[in-house]
Symmetry: D2
Subunit: 194 residues, 4 copies
Amino acid sequence: MTPFVPGMDDQEFLRDKAVPMTKKEIRILTLTAARIDENAVICDIGAGTGSLSIEAALLAKNGHVFAIEKNPTALPLINANAAKFGVKNLTIIPATAPYGIADLPDLTAAFVGGSGGNLSLIIEALANRLKVGGRIVVTAITPQTVAACLADMKRRDNFRYEAVVVQVSRLRRVGSLDLPAAQNPITIITGEKV
Amino acid sequence: MTPFVPGMDDQEFLRDKAVPMTKKEIRILTLTAARIDENAVICDIGAGTGSLSIEAALLAKNGHVFAIEKNPTALPLINANAAKFGVKNLTIIPATAPYGIADLPDLTAAFVGGSGGNLSLIIEALANRLKVGGRIVVTAITPQTVAACLADMKRRDNFRYEAVVVQVSRLRRVGSLDLPAAQNPITIITGEKV
Amino acid sequence: MTPFVPGMDDQEFLRDKAVPMTKKEIRILTLTAARIDENAVICDIGAGTGSLSIEAALLAKNGHVFAIEKNPTALPLINANAAKFGVKNLTIIPATAPYGIADLPDLTAAFVGGSGGNLSLIIEALANRLKVGGRIVVTAITPQTVAACLADMKRRDNFRYEAVVVQVSRLRRVGSLDLPAAQNPITIITGEKV
Amino acid sequence: MTPFVPGMDDQEFLRDKAVPMTKKEIRILTLTAARIDENAVICDIGAGTGSLSIEAALLAKNGHVFAIEKNPTALPLINANAAKFGVKNLTIIPATAPYGIADLPDLTAAFVGGSGGNLSLIIEALANRLKVGGRIVVTAITPQTVAACLADMKRRDNFRYEAVVVQVSRLRRVGSLDLPAAQNPITIITGEKV
């Protein structure tokens, strides 16, 4: 069987208006930033629809993904999407992070898509569970989250980080024209434990 | 051995000021748009430093990449980068596309990074060599190339396409601050033969 | 009385869901690109809500603005907005451009916000009415309009042009955070008759 | 004489590689955000080449601009640019802000383009000198400055603010093509004293 390559289309996932979903291009860049291998053990904070968790689980086919999500509306969506793609190496943890992180096994990667104001506590908890060489990838929308995450990374002697701001506009065909639909600029911050 | 996941850092490649290189995030999005599997047969038009060809060759470990490049300065760079990463399934074709395309075996994917004004002829030649289900991914910088590529895709009954404009700014740490360095907006157009 | 400086807030204008409005920052850059003075004679093609026409009329207080608009829903909006800001030097022409342009007096500036596929005919008609030193400012959303406008400008010996792509995200306060809302990238092309 | 409208081309200003200059589109949006009238009294912190100060002085023809700049290389540039445009209502204050602000007359507008880490002290000093209805416009490049400025604005009961992120790419003609050159995304934060 050929290995999974990230990049499923957004419409392949079951969605709900009340549950935000990381869009395709940002999901790809987030996944590849984590350098996931087949045995990866991954935590996804703020899993939403589960799109990122599911692509991560498909990449880590001999590993495992722990999806932490506090929104009750999202939980059945993650389950349904996992079932749709035949993903079995995914455990959903209905909790508000950082709760749930301390009990996880050693991690090789973590995603933080929603922090609910607990970003520093979440990164601290993840950093404690992360193996050396492991990576935390934060996708931040607001300037406050971007600045807080960068400050947190700078404080850590055993982390090095890189960051990019990515703004995507998808073109949609309308007759002979192609109309852009701008998506919000997202800052992707990747910290590696050294 | 764990399968390759795209996303090498730009500085891992040998470079030359006279040879443009697709930057990391655009390279990742271009590679994943092509949906390359282990047996992929790929053509990379305007290979430049070979960064895209090499990541493609690592993904298609049982397949092959044909890198067409007209710039003589670039050819030894592609070779040196292939050697650096132990890539053996890569053939360099020193030519100005569309020359060289007609002689290729059936393709499952193609990249067009530089067209030198021959975009329509190149897409026509690639479309003829492409298997059904195969994908052509064009990365366009100028409005002229974007419009020409979209017009070409619209004309083809046996192609469906999608397109995104991506603008990346990389943050660089300067003391306690992080300074953005904006990269040019790139339009990635993916056509699938149906 | 102090002269008018462009930059009214979007919410100061009466709007309608069926009538698109150029957003504040793009409106400012479009207006200033036209180098309007107090005596300017201006044509605004695709006037929409009239926001651009009205700010132009306030700048050209001893001049005149001709707003050409084909959408019947927009016409009373332009009138109502003109009344709201006490603008009297504005004439609405209910027509599909280029109809209506040939009958205008000599112009010092023109805006093209919507072309309905007649871009080349519109620019030709405007170029014929434009005084030497006058400016045509096109705001283009689709790659097709951008490329067509640039091609048109290149063809004209007596025009020089400049162009910028502008992407704006407005931040909206939500508690202690500020959430961006991305607007579509707009290309502003300014041609000056020399 | 017709009133000045902002929007001079970048190349009209004398420049120096060691002195950063706010680019045209950002300068226009910054100037218009300040709602400067003919009698405005303005402080420009981190004046650089003086491009913003000079356009502000031309708008405030019966008012005055105080340009505070700590970089000795920049001071003769500001002087030379003021002379070039016949600007006489501009006073250069060679100082590191917030020094110099407390001694200014009542202000109707202020620009902060460079803060050298003193952003909060600078905004505090400006807020003390600012008349009710006056505006402080901060152009921020780094996430740290954006977040610090937004936090500062939120703390002030007598200020309301708005903010936009603006990313500009200028197109440059190369034969039949137009090549974009991306400029850094800038966040423009405008606080009004109420």
